[in-house]
C-alpha cells in the first residue's frame, strides 16, 4: 500500500515535471488519434448507414468484413500498413515509414470498421417501422441516409466515441508503424510502454492518468452532444 501511495505521489510530481516533452507527446497523441478518428468517422458512418439501409447483394459480405474489422488486433493493422509503406512495398516511394502520417493511416484503418459497425447497429436498431417509413418517403439514397443517421444520432455519436476510444488507447499499430521515436513518433501509449519497460513506474502511471483524462473528457463532450 505504501509502495502504491508513494508511486501515486511520484506520478503526480512527474506530471508537472514532464514539461515540454509531455506537451509534445500529448499533442501528437491527440493529433494522430483525432485525425484518424475524423477519417474513420467520415468513411465509417456513411459506410455503416449504407450497410443498414441497402439491399445490395454485397451487403452480407461487407457486413462480415466490418464485423471482423471491429475485432482486428491493432498490431495486425499496423503490420499491414508497414508492409504497404516499406521501402520496396507498393507505397514505399512515399517514404512514410516511422512518420505520424503512417500512424494516422494505421489508426484510421482501425477506426473505420468500428464507426461503420456501431452506426449500422444504431440505424438497424431504429426498428422495422422506421426502415419501412424511410423507404416509403422515396428519398434520394443520400438523403435517405442522412435522415436515417440523423434519426440515429445518439448511436452515431457512440460510434465516434468508440472509434476515438479504440485508436487513442491502442499501442500495437502506432508502435509498429511509428517506431516510438522519442520526440518524433512517441504517443502516450507507446511512452507508457517505454517507461514501464525501464521500470519508471511513476512516469508510466502519470502518463496513464493523462490518457485516462483525455478519454474521459472526450466522452463527456460527446455525451453532452448526445443529449442536445
Amino acid at each position: 500500500m505504501e509502495f502504491l501511495g508513494g508511486l501515486l505521489a511520484d506520478a503526480v510530481r512527474e506530471l508537472f515535471g514532464f514539461g515540454a516533452e509531455l506537451r509534445r507527446i500529448l499533442f501528437l497523441t491527440l493529433a494522430v488519434a483525432g485525425i484518424a478518428t475524423v477519417i474513420g468517422v467520415l468513411v465509417g458512418v456513411p459506410l455503416g448507414t449504407w450497410l443498414a439501409l441497402t439491399r445490395h447483394r454485397l451487403r452480407n459480405t461487407i457486413d462480415v468484413l466490418v464485423n471482423a474489422g471491429m475485432g482486428v488486433p491493432p498490431v495486425l493493422a499496423g503490420l499491414l500498413i508497414l508492409i504497404l509503406l516499406w521501402n520496396d512495398g507498393p507505397l514505399g516511394s512515399l517514404d512514410l515509414v516511422f512518420t505520424p502520417m503512417a500512424m494516422v493511416g494505421a489508426q484510421a484503418l482501425l477506426a473505420i470498421p468500428i464507426a461503420a459497425g456501431v452506426t449500422a447497429g444504431a440505424i438497424r436498431g431504429l426498428g422495422p417501422a422506421a426502415s419501412e417509413q424511410l423507404i416509403a418517403l422515396r428519398l434520394a439514397s443520400y438523403r435517405r441516409g442522412f435522415v436515417a443517421a440523423r434519426e440515429a444520432l445518439p448511436g452515431v455519436i457512440a460510434a465516434v466515441a468508440a472509434a476515438f476510444g479504440r485508436v487513442v488507447s491502442e499501442v500495437g499499430a502506432v508502435l509498429i508503424v511509428g517506431g516510438n521515436i522519442e520526440g518524433e513518433t512517441q504517443v502516450l501509449t507507446t511512452a507508457i510502454v517505454q517507461q514501464a519497460r525501464q521500470a519508471h513506474f511513476d512516469s508510466a502511471l502519470a502518463l496513464g492518468f493523462v490518457l485516462l483524462i483525455i478519454v474521459a473528457l472526450v466522452n463527456v463532450a460527446l455525451g453532452r452532444l448526445r443529449s442536445v
Binding site: 426502415s131 417509413q133 416509403a136 422515396r138 428519398l139
Partner: protein, 321 residues
C-alpha cells in the same frame, strides 16, 4: 397480378385483379396477409414496387417538428399541398410541435402520403389511430385527395371499408377468398370465411330439397330457403346472405312481391352494431337483419313482437358444406 411471398414461414399466394382508377379495399382479419400484400406493392419488401405513395401501418415520426416530418421527401409544390391537407385534417396548427399524439402523427403521415403525385395510393389502416367522430371527416379528405387515381386501402374494419372502398378484396390466411364491387361482397359473401370476416352474414346449414333453374330450395330447421347455387337434391349445403339484404315487416305483410323467401316469427334480439341495429328473428331458423335505428322505431320492432323477414333468392348464396 400474382404474388407468392414467403415470410416467417407463412405464405401469401394471391391472384387478384385490382382495377385502376378505383379505390380497392383489402379486407380481412388480422394476420391475413393484408399488410404483406401492401408492402409488396410498395416495394418495402420484394423486388417489384409499383409507382406508388405508401402509408405504412405503423406511422413513424422522426425526431424533429411535425412540420419537418410533413415535408420529408416532398418538393415545394407537394409540401404546400401537404400543408393544405394537414389543415383540412385538423393538425395545421401543430407544425412547430415536436411532441404529437398517435392520432396527430397519423394525420401528418396521411397528409404527406396523399400530397405525393404517384398514380397509385397505398394506405395501410389509414383510419386506425383515429377517434370514431373524426373518421368520417378524415375519410372524406382521403377520398378527395386520391381523386381519380388508383388506390389500395388495407383495413380490418367494416366501417372503414364501406366508407373508403369502391371495390373489395377479401384476404384470409394469405389467400383471396373474394373480389368484386364492395356492395356485392357484403351482400353475397362467397363462402363462410368471407361471411364471418365481413360480419354481416346469415349462415345456415341445410339439405337441398328442390331445384329450379339457377335456384335451389334448402331445408333448414323447418324452413325452406331459396337461393342461388347448382346442387343436386339431397346435397348438404350452406346457405348465406347478408343481414342488410333482409327486409323486415312488422306482423305479416299482404304481399312480398317477387321475393321467394318470407320467414315469419318472433323477434328474439335487438342489438346495436356500430351505427346500425341488428334484429334477430326466430323463424325456425335464426334470421339476422340489419336496420337503421330509424327503421326499427318506425316498425315498432322489439323483443317478443311478431315480424316477417323477406329475402330475394338472388341475394342468397348456396354453397357446398
Amino acid at each position: 397480378m400474382r404474388f407468392t411471398y414467403p415470410a416467417d414461414g407463412s405464405q401469401l399466394d394471391c391472384d387478384v385483379d385490382i382495377p385502376t382508377g378505383m379505390r380497392t379495399v383489402v379486407f380481412g382479419p388480422n394476420g391475413a396477409g393484408k399488410s404483406t400484400l401492401l408492402r409488396l406493392l410498395a416495394g418495402t419488401i420484394g423486388e417489384n414496387p409499383w409507382d406508388a405513395t405508401y402509408l405504412p401501418q405503423t406511422v413513424y415520426h422522426f425526431r424533429g417538428s411535425a412540420g419537418w416530418n410533413l415535408g420529408l421527401g416532398l418538393n415545394a409544390e407537394q409540401a404546400a399541398r401537404a400543408r393544405h391537407l394537414a389543415d383540412r385534417l385538423g393538425v395545421g396548427h401543430l407544425m412547430e410541435a415536436t411532441a404529437v399524439s398517435g392520432g396527430e402523427r397519423q394525420r401528418f403521415a396521411l397528409a404527406r402520403t396523399l400530397a405525393r403525385p404517384e398514380p397509385w395510393v397505398l394506405l395501410d389502416e389509414p383510419l386506425a389511430a383515429l377517434d370514431t367522430q373524426d373518421r368520417i371527416n378524415v375519410a372524406r379528405v382521403i377520398v378527395e385527395a386520391i381523386g381519380d387515381r388508383s388506390a389500395v386501402i388495407v383495413t380490418h374494419d367494416q366501417d372503414a371499408a364501406v366508407i373508403l372502398g369502391q371495390n373489395m378484396v377479401v384476404l384470409i390466411d394469405g389467400a383471396v377468398h373474394q373480389a368484386g364491387p364492395i356492395h356485392e361482397v357484403f351482400a353475397q359473401p362467397a363462402d363462410e370465411a368471407v361471411a364471418t370476416a365481413v360480419g354481416l352474414g346469415n349462415v345456415l346449414d341445410g339439405i337441398v330439397r328442390a331445384t329450379e333453374g339457377p335456384l335451389c330450395s334448402v331445408a333448414s330447421g323447418g324452413s325452406a330457403i331459396w337461393g342461388v347455387g347448382d346442387h343436386e337434391l339431397g346435397d348438404t349445403v350452406r346457405v348465406m346472405f347478408g343481414a342488410e339484404t333482409v327486409t323486415l315487416y312488422a306482423g305479416t305483410p299482404p304481399s312480398v312481391g317477387s321475393a321467394r323467401n318470407a320467414f315469419s316469427g318472433m323477434v328474439t334480439e335487438v342489438r346495436p352494431v356500430g351505427r346500425f341495429v341488428e334484429v334477430v328473428l326466430d323463424a325456425g331458423v335464426p334470421i339476422v337483419a340489419l336496420l337503421t335505428p330509424g327503421s326499427l322505431e318506425a316498425l315498432g320492432l322489439r323483443e317478443g313482437v311478431p315480424a316477417t323477414a323477406v329475402v330475394k333468392a338472388t341475394a342468397v348464396r348456396v354453397v357446398p358444406s
